[in-house]
Structures are given as C-alpha cells and as structure tokens.
C-alpha cells in the first residue's frame, strides 16, 4: 500500500497529543496505518513493527517529528498526511494557563508564577529526573508522574529533596491530593481528617473514594511512587509523608497503603510506627505483614477495610463490609444457576493495577486461582498477556499494553477490544471490570465499557456472560459516580460499591458454578 511521509526536524510535541492525532488519522477510511511520532529509538522500533518505517526515515533523530501514512490509495495517503500536518500547526492547548506568557522552562515559569510550590512532571522518562532536579533546585516540591526513571536517579532526587525538606512524589506517581487540589489522576473527595500516604496511585484512588462513600473526608493524599519502599530507596518519601501527616493539624487518622516494603525498609517503617502519635491504618497489599506493637496501628488486608477502619477511627462507629444491594445480589444468584455447561471461567479486565491485585487476592483467599500478566502466585503467569487462560485477571495498564499507547484509564479502546474478545469465548462465565473516574480519566469510561458490552453481547453465541463491575469514583467527580453506575447497570452489568465487594461476589458466583460454594 502506498506510504507517504513527512519529517519535521527540531519539532517537539507531547506524546499524548501525538497519539490523539495518530488515532484520528488511522481511523480515516482507506488508511491501513498512520502515525505521528518523535523519532526516538523506541518509537522507530514501534514504527518498524507497524510497517511504517520506510528506509528514508531510518536516520531520523529524537528531535525529529515523523508523520507517516499508509493507505490503500496514494491520494488518500497524501490527503491524510496533509491533514495530519495541518492539525499539528493548529494552536496548541494552553487552556491550563493563568497568564499570557508561555514559559519554555521551569525557571521561566517560576518567575511568572512565583507562588508555585509543586512541579507536576509527566515528560518522557529520559528527561524527567533532570526536570525534577531543576524544580527542586528552585525550591518546589515535585509530583513526578513520569515512569522510566532509573532507581539511581530516584535515589539521588529523593536524597537531595530530603536535604532541602522537599517532597518528591514518584516516579510513577499517578495520584496525589494536596490540600484539596487533585493532582494528575485523582478524584474529587470530601475534605476531612483522614490523611493517606500511598505507594500506589489506584490504591490511593480506591481508598479515597471509599472514604468519601462511607461519609468520611480526606485531608491529604501523598503519593510516593511504587518503588519508594524498596530497600534501595529505603522509604524516604513514605516516611517523610507519614511524618508530615503526623504533624499536620488537619489530620487525625493516617492510612498507609503499599505493597510490602523491602526487609530493611520494613524495619524502619515498623520502628517509626511504634513512635506514631496518631492512629494509623496499615494496608500492605499482596498479603504483607508487619510486626508492630503500637495499639494505635491497625493492619488491614484490603482497600475497603482500610477505608472502613479509617472512618471508624474518626467517628467511633463500626462499619460493616460493603455488599451489593438486594437487587444486585439476587441477580448474581440467579445468573449463577443459568450458565451453559461450557461456561466455566472468570476474566478480569483491569485498568488499575492495585484493583487487579486486590481481586486476585480476594479470589485466592476463596481458593480460586487466577492467571495474570502480573500474577500473585508462582506458576500462574500467562504465556501471552493478550490471550486469557482459565480464570484470568489482567492489568491492562501494565507496560506490556501501554508502550506507545495511552493508558486504559485515558483511552478505553484496548480494553473495549479485549472485552469483546472475551465475550466471544464460549467458556467465559463472568467478566469483571473496574471503572475509574476522576481527573485524568476518560470523560465517560462506563459509556465505553457499555458500548463494548453491547457489541460483545450481539456477537455472542452461547450462554449469557455475567458482567460484574465497580466504579471507583465520587458524586463530585466530573463523570459523576451515580451516572456512571447507571450506565453500567443499563448495559446489564451488576455494579458493586467497592472492588472488594465485587471480587467477593464474583468469587461466590464461581464457587456456586463449581458446586463448592455454600451460598447459591
């Protein structure tokens, strides 16, 4: 098929804008493939794999922008290429600006906004540590959303920051909420006296929205990035966050959420917790355990329990586990007995890694074992993350799926595609979904899933698939929790108030299916 291309040397555009333009161009009728990409070595490989790397482009460098269109006819390719080029020249999105000056560096920006106290950095990993250090140099705290930052760079940044008393949230920190301001992927949550420190973005999101759902409120949510508690980094920012919340007048209860720390860091955290003057809810995912004598420290085993325990510590009132409402529970029970004989398996399609983990843990506790691209048990790794096997729960936000492609919380198309694929599989009985709302997320994630469910259902031969979902969001989120839940229900999904509840419900259905469960 004829390929047309254009090289724009010395141009720079952010990868999200380029992906949006690529997607639009590729969707044009008659186009086989199209891309707008900076010619980094990794991108050139991706282009080669897509059959778009013509010989003339092989010498392009990381500061060159490549536009390539492969179409059925030459004139289509040329037209689409011209349109692609024109969209680039359209006015850039500066809607976030509060001033007319357009700064080109952090230093310039700081002069224009002298009160700036956080640099929110999501530039490509190669440059992220440099930019973070520049921000620290200028006396700002850093929210480092970027990943692909080396552990050496992380350690250097955090040690420098610690010396200056500054916070580095990240790398790979998806979520923070400071003094009511949501940063990156974060929900709009009621204010209150519960503070959170988390090494997981979706973990923070899940806990903060549950606190809101349970009537509680959040003082601050401090993210640390997923690697902070490994022994090489030593929990620098996790401990700094804990110390800050302990001193913060507006915080009464502290929730800590993370995967288990490295051995040495575990020791440091335990020692620090013994000294803690405020009640702490400790949620170590993947079944981690820590030895702390301090009766003010409350270990919990899942995200929902963390939120419930925190709210209870504030109000003094015990809260029972969240479950589906009457109608939902009845529908689940009814569906459990209606599966066709060949329907046996669960497929969990997750956009949030921590929610994916939690589901696998809840199921494992019910003696239901799941394959995954991020398995929690030995021997349960999928050979091919794109092909499910028996009970499978996948994290579609993992690197495997997001190299050169947008995260599923932003762009639901990969997950929608996978959903339709699973619904075409006659051995599938239950599909689980998480739907994450808030800033940063897609404008209508439930809508996208509902559409995919309809498409899947229309094409399905064999017994109905039971869709079990939970929405991680609040009424005050832009997408509105109740509206999103309604969309899913209208598409025939059973919607639960937390992922924990949804996972338990799914487990019950599977046990009934296997004839093992006591509940039918």
């Amino acid at each position: 098929m004829p390929i047309r291309w254009l090289v724009k040397p010395g141009s720079y555009y952010d990868s999200v804008s380029l992906m949006q333009l690529s997607t639009k161009a590729a969707a044009t009728p008659g186009v086989r493939a199209a891309t707008a990409m900076m010619a980094t070595p990794m991108n050139l490989e991706t282009m080669a794999a897509d059959g778009l790397l013509v010989d003339e482009l092989k010498g392009a460098g990381p500061n060159d922008l490549l536009l390539v269109v492969d179409a059925a006819e030459a004139d289509v390719a040329e037209t689409v290429l011209a349109q692609l080029n024109e969209s680039l020249n359209a006015a850039p999105d500066h809607s976030g600006e509060s001033q007319t000056v357009v700064p080109r560096s952090t230093a310039e920006a700081k002069e224009a906004l002298p009160g700036a106290n956080i640099a929110l950095i999501s530039v490509p990993g190669t440059y992220a540590a440099y930019e973070a250090a520049e921000a620290l140099r200028l006396g700002m705290h850093v929210h480092l959303f970027s990943d692909n930052v080396t552990v050496e760079q992380e350690i250097a940044l955090k040690q420098y920051a610690a010396k200056r008393g500054l916070l580095v949230m990240g790398p790979d920190c998806g979520t923070a909420i400071i003094n009511g301001t949501p940063l990156a992927f974060a929900n709009v949550v009621r204010r209150g006296p519960i503070g959170v420190v988390g090494a997981s973005g979706t973990g923070i999101q899940a806990i903060t929205v549950l606190i809101d759902r349970l009537g509680g409120g959040l003082s601050h949510a401090i993210g640390t990035g997923g690697r902070d508690l490994k022994d090489e980094v030593g929990g620098i920012m996790f401990l700094a966050g804990l110390e800050a919340l302990e001193a913060d007048a507006s915080t009464e209860v502290i929730v800590l959420v993370s995967k288990p720390p490295g051995k040495k860091t575990m020791q440091k955290v335990a020692e620090r917790l013994e000294q803690c003057r405020k009640p702490v809810v400790l949620c170590l995912l993947r079944g981690g355990k820590i030895n702390v004598m301090n009766p003010g420290v409350h270990p919990v085993s899942n995200l929902e329990e963390a939120a419930r325990q925190a709210v209870t510590l504030v109000t003094g009132n015990a809260l029972s586990a969240l479950t589906g409402d009457e109608a939902t529970n009845q529908a689940a029970a009814a569906a459990a007995v209606r599966f066709a004989p060949e329907q046996k398996f669960l497929r969990g399609l997750y956009s949030g890694g921590t929610l994916c983990d939690e589901t696998m843990l809840v199921l494992k506790d019910m003696d239901l074992h799941t394959y995954s691209n991020v398995p929690i048990e030995d021997g349960y790794a999928l050979d091919n993350a794109r092909v499910s096997r028996e009970h499978t729960v996948v994290d579609l936000g993992d690197d495997e799926f997001t190299r050169g492609k947008p995260h599923p919380m932003i762009d639901p198309s990969q997950r929608a595609h996978r959903l339709v694929q699973e619904m075409a599989d006659p051995s599938v009985a239950v599909i689980m979904l998480d739907v994450v709302l808030g800033y940063g997320s897609n404008a209508d994630p439930a809508g996208a899933m509902a559409k995919a469910i309809e498409t899947g259902r229309a094409a399905r031969k064999g017994g109905d698939v039971l869709i079990i979902a939970s929405v991680c969001g609040t009424e005050t989120d832009p997408q509105k929790l109740s509206a999103q839940e309604a969309i899913l229900r209208n598409a025939g999904a059973l919607v639960y108030p937390s992922n924990t509840a949804a996972a338990r419900a799914a487990g019950d259905v599977l046990l009934a299916l296997e004839g093992r469960g006591s509940r039918v």
Partner: protein, 474 residues
Amino acid sequence: MSEILTLLGSEVQVINLGIPSFAADLAAVGAPALHVDWRPPAGGSVELLAHLTALQLADAKIAAANEEAMNRLAAFQPALIGIDQAMRAIPGVDSHTILHAGPPVTWERMCGPQRGAVIGALMFEGLAATPEEAEALAASGRIKFAPAHHFGAVGPMAGVISPSMPVFIVENKAFGNRAYSTMNEGLGKVLRFGAYTAEVLDRLAWFRDGLAPLLAKALAVSGPVDLKSLTAKALQMGDECHNRNLAATSLFVRELTPALIEAAGDDTALLQRVATFFAGNDHFFLNLSMAACKASLDAAHGVPYSTLVTAMSRNGTDFGIRVSGLGDQWFTAPAGMVEGLYFPGYTEADANPDMGDSAITETFGIGGFAMAAAPAIVKFVGGNASDSISYTKEMGLITLGTNKAYTLPTMNFAPGPQGIDVRAVVSRNLQPLINTGIAHKAPGVGQIGAGLVRAPMACFEAALAAAATEFSKQ
C-alpha cells in the same frame, strides 16, 4: 519537614511539564497552574543531559560561585586612567609580541584580514620594510603571536596590537585590575580590516605621536573618565555600545573637551586635527566600551565552580569562549558567518567569518544583549523595533541576572540581562546573539555590511563537558 508542612497548609500552585490536560484540569478546579511549553533540554541530546545532570548534583557549589561572580560584575567601576604605548602599559609585551583578537591561532590559520593587519603591524614596528618581508617574518617563528585576551587586552576585528601602538588603560576601580585596547581608527582603509597601505601606517604613526600624547595630557588634567556612567547614558540615547557608539563617542568627546583644549595649549593644529578626527569617527567609543567590559569581566574570572562565561571572542577563523570556573581554557569552534545586510556591491560570497574581541560587549550584557536600546540594528536582519526588545528578552533566558546600572528605556527602564550561564545556553538550546560588522575576506577592503551572528553551540557544549568533569570532582 517544615517545608512539607507548609505545603500541606498552603494553596497548591502548579507548574506543569508534560501532559497539557493536567494543567487544564487544575484550571477547572480553580488551582493556579502554569503549563510549560516544554521541549527536551539540550535539543534532546542524552550526552549533554548527562553533563547537565552532573552539574545539578554540584548545584550548591555552582550557585554560590555564580553569586560571587555576579557580585563582582555588579561592583564594576571601569575608568579610563591613561594611555601609553603597549610595551610600556601592558606587562609581558616585548618588541616581538604581536597580539591579536580571538582565541590562539597560528599565522598559517589566520584569515585574510588578520594577516593583513599583522603585515601592517610588523611594517609599522619597522620589523619589516615590505609586505613580503613581513609575511616571511610572520611565518618564521620569531614573532610571538598571542591572543590580546591573554594580556588583559581587547581589539575589534583583527584586533592586532603591536608594541609601539598606544593603548587605552582602563582600570576597574573596584578590584584594581586593568584592561587595554587600541584606539579606533574609524572606517574605510584601516588596519583592523587588514589594510596596510601608507595611509594606514601614517595614521598609526599619528596616533602614536600626536593623538595619544595629547589624550594622555588631557587625562592628566581631567582625571579618570568614568566609563560606566557614559555607557549608562549612551544606552538610553540609542547606543548599544558595540555596533552603535555615536552617542557614547559624543559624550566622551564632550567630557574631555575642556581638558583637551587645556592640554593642547598653543598647538591648535593638533587640536584641530584631533577634533576633526573625532567628528568623523562614530565608533571611537567602541574600543573603550570593550576595554571597560574586559576589565569588569576579568574581575569575575577565576571563581571556582562558576559557570559564568567571561569571554566570547573570534579571530576570523575560530570562535572561542572562556568560563570563570574553568581557568585559562578556550573552548573553540569554527567562526560562523554573519547574517545581515551588505553594502552595495557586496554579497555573502565576499564575507569573512565572524571576527574580533568586540563580543566582549555581549559577554558583559550590552551590544546585542541590549539591542532593545538600539532598535536600528534589527533592520540589518529585516526586523522591526519590537523585535529588538524580543532579542533582549530572549537573552534573559540564558543569563544569570541583570545589570542594574544599565537600564533600557524601551523596556520600561528594566535592567539589561547579564551573565551568560553556559548551562542555560546548552539546556535551553539558545545561543548568545551578537551584533557585529562584516569584514571583506580579502585583507584591506574593509567593512562590507553588518548584522547578527550567534555564538557557536559547540563552544558551550565543550565547556559544559569540561565543567561536568571538573565541578563534580569531590
């Protein structure tokens, strides 16, 4: 810790680098947010990024050093205190020393105009009787060629200084160090463009025997001339004191006139010739401007860990820079071609590459950096008056601070940007801008145009690499 606690109690104000929607979301919730039009630092080069990162790690030392260096610049007090022959005024200059503009260069590699100036200088010194003898002598190894910079001196274009040429003596009163420069010959057939005819040598002789002695006497009468206040006034009168020196020249002559008259006494013929010479030379102040900048910058050179650029200079073949914390090293690259307007009859094909020590003015923050003061310059590159302000603002992106003594009326009397930071040049991928004349590449033809040129990035990249190695040693 208290910083984090302060953050928790404050309104969050964000600077956003990367995904634009993050800034839009913050605006939607009413949080002050500024999105940066970001591009990879240092043009995306991973190697340069590694150097920049190494320097970030040494930031505390570098910041303190740069503050010291900038304080020294701010303390500048350049004064013209005298005029005398180079071999008497400049320590180390002997009978066979020939100084030249730019970083070190051999006779073999010198460009046409500079060779012409060397030939003229050797004949002026009486070391050679003909141009052929002069060339043979120059190639013989018996002449000690050296950058004027190495002797505390600066010269425009070919910048050749020979032992018996009179030089201005400028002292930086704040630190006691001195800088020297020759007197400006005017335009047309002049030594600095490589001419060595009898007319040129005669003028040099008159400088030595007539003009310089009179000026020396006049200075003894008037006392030191404050070059800082002259420059400050000139910058508010349409000069940038590199390519536009008319106001400064006029102010200088006005200031010295009473002393000149007294010093001349009965020698009205000499006084008349001097007055006529000044009246016809719009650029007489240039060499004083350069010496003042040199004296001011030399005081800030040699501060360990400082990334301040203390010299930018060209010999018509190479462009070189020096950095305060990197000692005597020159970081060089081929001199570029000037982009501008040509006088009738000349084109780029006739042009010599960029030449002269006059970029010391931009190094100090005037010249091209103060283009907002002299909008006429941008016409040479097809710009308009607001472009001249844009250029000055652009240079503010690569400088460590401003010069409070030199304020620019067209920018609401804002102080001009000053103090080129080698890190910023590389990370911002933004080269210092220089206003300059264009010389014909053949010796002796003269100036054929004027315009703008950018200092080569390669010089700054090399300096950055050296700084990354030097400054990250424990």
